[in-house]
């Protein structure tokens, strides 16, 4: 089964210029030949998206940093199989999701960790329009969700994955994914008074 990556579900609004894509293809080719500097460029271009996802799924900044490093190491190991049929980010993103979910599953029985308030600063940006606190409120409420419901909410409502894809990646049934999503939405709306 061929999975549609989350980024495909929400296409880039800016198609980017051919020059950037050509440069990315060149960097991929160089990295495939062992050029670490070229791979570093690919890392710099994509670390924000990968870390953002890992932070939401892990709920912990330190763990998210470790996961982000794991994602780029795994991607490096798999890079030889990347044929350039899609953008590098489109190819990279499923690796990030799988890495983060895999870690989440492995520690699910051990503990439940919560996003520290300071971690939320990573999502803040100076150019936010007036009233940005709503976003932070939602982030804070999201961090308080049970890990399973949080992961499915993040993947479905923020990242744009479909239930079938989520079920495959998380190992839960499609019905469970839907039930967890509805639960997450209800809990969040209750927490936010909406």
């Amino acid at each position: 089964m061929v999975l549609t990556p989350g980024v495909g579900a929400r296409p880039e609004t800016n198609p980017q210029d051919d020059e950037r894509r050509a440069r990315e293809r060149q960097r991929v080719k160089e990295a495939q030949e062992g050029n670490v500097a070229a791979y570093e460029e690919l890392y710099r271009d994509n670390v924000g998206r990968v870390y953002g996802l890992c932070l939401r799924l892990a709920g912990d900044a330190t763990l998210a940093e470790e996961l982000t490093q794991d994602v780029f190491v795994r991607a490096w190991q798999k890079l030889g199989g990347f044929r350039g049929a899609s953008a590098f980010s489109t190819w990279l993103y499923p690796i990030a999701v799988n890495t983060a979910l895999s870690e989440r599953r492995s520690r699910a029985r051990r503990s439940s960790r919560f996003l520290a308030t300071d971690d939320l600063e990573a999502f803040e940006r100076p150019e936010r329009p007036p009233g940005p606190e709503r976003g932070i409120d939602l982030e804070r409420a999201l961090s308080q969700l049970p890990p399973g419901a949080r992961a499915i909410f993040v993947l479905h409502d923020i990242e744009g994955f479909k239930h079938g894809e989520i079920a495959q990646r998380t190992g839960v049934a499609t019905g469970t994914s839907k039930a967890q999503l509805h639960r997450a939405r209800r809990l969040l709306r209750e927490a936010l008074g909406r």
Partner: protein, 214 residues
């Protein structure tokens, strides 16, 4: 459909996951219920906010040095393979084998009483070719060894087996050469030397295949 039934299906309705008939029922209810229209609107606003959350975040420290350290061994291997160092090794090994086979007297080809020429195993050209071959093989082995951490369990197992084979072949080569020093015109020993080199070429090719998989 009443309000309770509608609220139970609201998420699927908003997500467009209701079957056609149930979707139409929900639409009919919405058209006649102001409270449910408010609830539907609230959910849509909430979901729009969620989908608009920023998807990028910056880590609190530079993560690259830790990544660079972990990917360097494989990078080294890739650079080695791309440079074609192994090709030199294969070519040198092939030259060794070719020279040995050419130097080996064919059975029955020599007239009675003719003097056998010394074998070429000890010639300077072959020694140089062999040294290059050994160098290339060792480089490849070192690079593969450095990449062991990123290998699959299957590849690690294959790597261990290949290493064992390399050692066994090198031992065999040493033994044959030692024997040839005392009996340089021994055809059997010369054939053995050539076939042992051929085995090492085969092994080198396996190592190259392994390196391309990791």
């Amino acid at each position: 459909m009443n309000c309770e039934g509608f609220r139970q299906q609201l998420d699927d309705y908003v997500d467009g996951l209701l079957p056609e008939r149930e979707h139409q029922d929900a639409e009919l209810h919405l058209g006649s219920c102001a409270d449910c229209r408010v609830e539907e609107r609230r959910l849509r606003v909430f979901l729009a906010e969620a989908s608009g959350l920023r998807r990028e975040a910056q880590p609190g420290r530079d993560l690259w040095p830790g990544i660079a350290e972990r990917i360097e061994p494989r990078a080294k291997l890739l650079r080695f393979v791309r440079r074609g160092g192994w090709l030199v090794g294969v070519a040198a090994a092939a030259a060794v084998v070719f020279a040995l086979v050419q130097a080996r007297p064919r059975p029955g080809a020599l007239p009675a009483g003719a003097e056998l020429r010394p074998v070429a195993a000890g010639s300077v050209d072959i020694e140089r070719a062999e040294a290059e071959y050994v160098r290339a093989t060792n480089q490849l082995l070192q690079a593969l060894n450095a990449s062991r951490g990123s290998m699959s369990p299957e590849a690690q197992k294959e790597m261990a087996e290949l290493e064992t084979s390399v050692n066994a072949i090198d031992d065999a080569l040493r033994d044959v050469k030692r024997a040839l020093e005392t009996d340089p015109q021994n055809n059997k020993l010369n054939r053995m030397l050539a076939s042992t080199h051929q085995k090492k070429i085969d092994l080198l090719l396996k190592l190259i295949r392994l390196s391309s998989q990791i």
